[in-house]
């Protein structure tokens, strides 16, 4: 068990350090959007979803109401259905009573770390990953709210890019393993841009449809490959 905690610690360390400045960016932006200290902290404590939290601030500024923001959040988070479903295959050896606890900690980043370390997954591993990532996110948010304003303006703006920089840093190394991961990511990007600029779907839906459509197309494109060697 000690070994698994250590493996989890090593796997999550980049996320812990990466989350912190991004959470500072969130705490600060939330304060500037007019949300109280209590609201800002609770946001990170209860929701724990970087992309959704940043999006909700955008939507508050754009004047969207509570119901609209909750709906958009739901749509944006539907991708976690696919992620959770994708991970569930690797959680078969974990006692079911712990699943609600593990589920709370599934973010884009902890999901990526877990799915790229499938062979190491067990309860101590995944809990270590989730708890440390969560602690970093919540404490970064609080620090950002309290002292973020003392940072230079340009640095404040670049912290907002940190979240996407982390997404890229998780995705690009996978291109090394298989050409097909690059093709599928490119395909998804093109499909999403088409959906976004066509404005056929409301924001949120375009994300879900893009993720599902490109993954479905991917299963056809790579149909003839042997699934066993295809350890993504």
């Amino acid at each position: 068990m000690y070994k698994k905690i250590k493996q989890g610690f090593i796997a999550v360390l980049p996320i812990v350090i990466g989350y912190f400045p991004i959470a500072i960016g969130f705490g600060l932006l939330s304060k500037n959007t007019g949300i109280s200290f209590k609201g800002t902290s609770l946001h990170s404590i209860m929701v724990f979803a970087g992309a959704s939290q940043f999006m909700s601030l955008d939507l508050i500024k754009a004047g969207v109401g509570t119901g609209g923001i909750i709906l958009a959040t739901f749509l944006l988070n539907l991708r976690h259905i696919m992620m959770s479903a994708s991970l569930s295959v690797n959680f078969k050896n974990i006692e079911r009573k712990y699943l609600p606890l593990i589920a709370f900690g599934i973010t884009d980043e902890t999901f990526s770390v877990a799915s790229f370390n499938k062979d190491k997954i067990n309860l101590p591993f995944i809990l270590t990953v989730n708890i440390l990532a969560y602690t970093s996110w919540v404490s970064g948010t609080i620090v950002g709210f309290l002292v973020g304003e003392t940072l230079p303006k340009a640095l404040q703006s670049s912290l907002d890019i940190g979240l996407y920089a982390m997404f890229a840093a998780l995705l690009f190394p996978e291109f090394n393993k298989h050409l097909r991961t690059f093709i599928i990511a490119l395909l998804a990007a093109i499909i999403y841009m088409g959906l976004y600029y066509s404005e056929l779907f409301s924001p949120g839906w375009d994300i879900i449809i893009g993720i599902v459509l490109s993954a479905v197309l991917g299963t056809f494109v790579f149909k003839n490959k042997d699934t066993k060697e295809e350890k993504l």
Binding site: P14, G18, I35, S36, G39, H43, M46, V47, A49, S52, D58, I70, T73, F74, N77, R79, H80, I81, M83, S84, S86, S88, V89, F91, R96, L99, I102, A103, F104, I106, D108, S112, S115, A154, S157, L159, D160, I161, L163, Y164, A165, F167, A168, A169, F172, P173, F175, A185, L186, A188, A189, Y192, Y196, I207, G210, I211, A215, G218, T227, E230
Partner: protein, 101 residues
């Protein structure tokens, strides 16, 4: 100051349920090969789309720094820089670019 508690509570619910439900229901069954392949592709399609969304929804003057910062972070990670270093490279690059204007 407006209370955002109903919003935060609602967001918490719609964030938690999509994380929980598949985990509880799908750990019982084994997916078929087609579904398995579909699920395996999800990390790539979702990360890619979130990155593109981050770029195209940023404000006019931030698009350049966003593209440069995000690309440099990805490229550094591709060439084996660890995640933290890559994210910091991305943040520093966009910081420098914003300052150059």
């Amino acid at each position: 100051m407006k209370s955002y508690l109903p919003l935060i509570f609602g967001m918490a619910v719609v964030t938690y349920l999509p994380r929980l439900i598949p985990l509880v229901y799908l750990t019982k069954k084994k997916p078929g090969p087609r579904l398995k392949r579909f699920l395996e592709l999800i990390p790539y399609t979702s990360l890619s789309i979130l990155i593109v969304r981050g770029i195209i929804t940023s404000s006019q003057d931030m698009i350049g720094p966003a593209i440069v910062g995000i690309s440099l972070a990805g490229i550094s990670a591709y060439f084996k820089a660890n995640l933290v270093v890559s994210v910091l490279i991305g943040i520093v690059a966009s910081f420098l670019m914003i300052n150059m204007k």
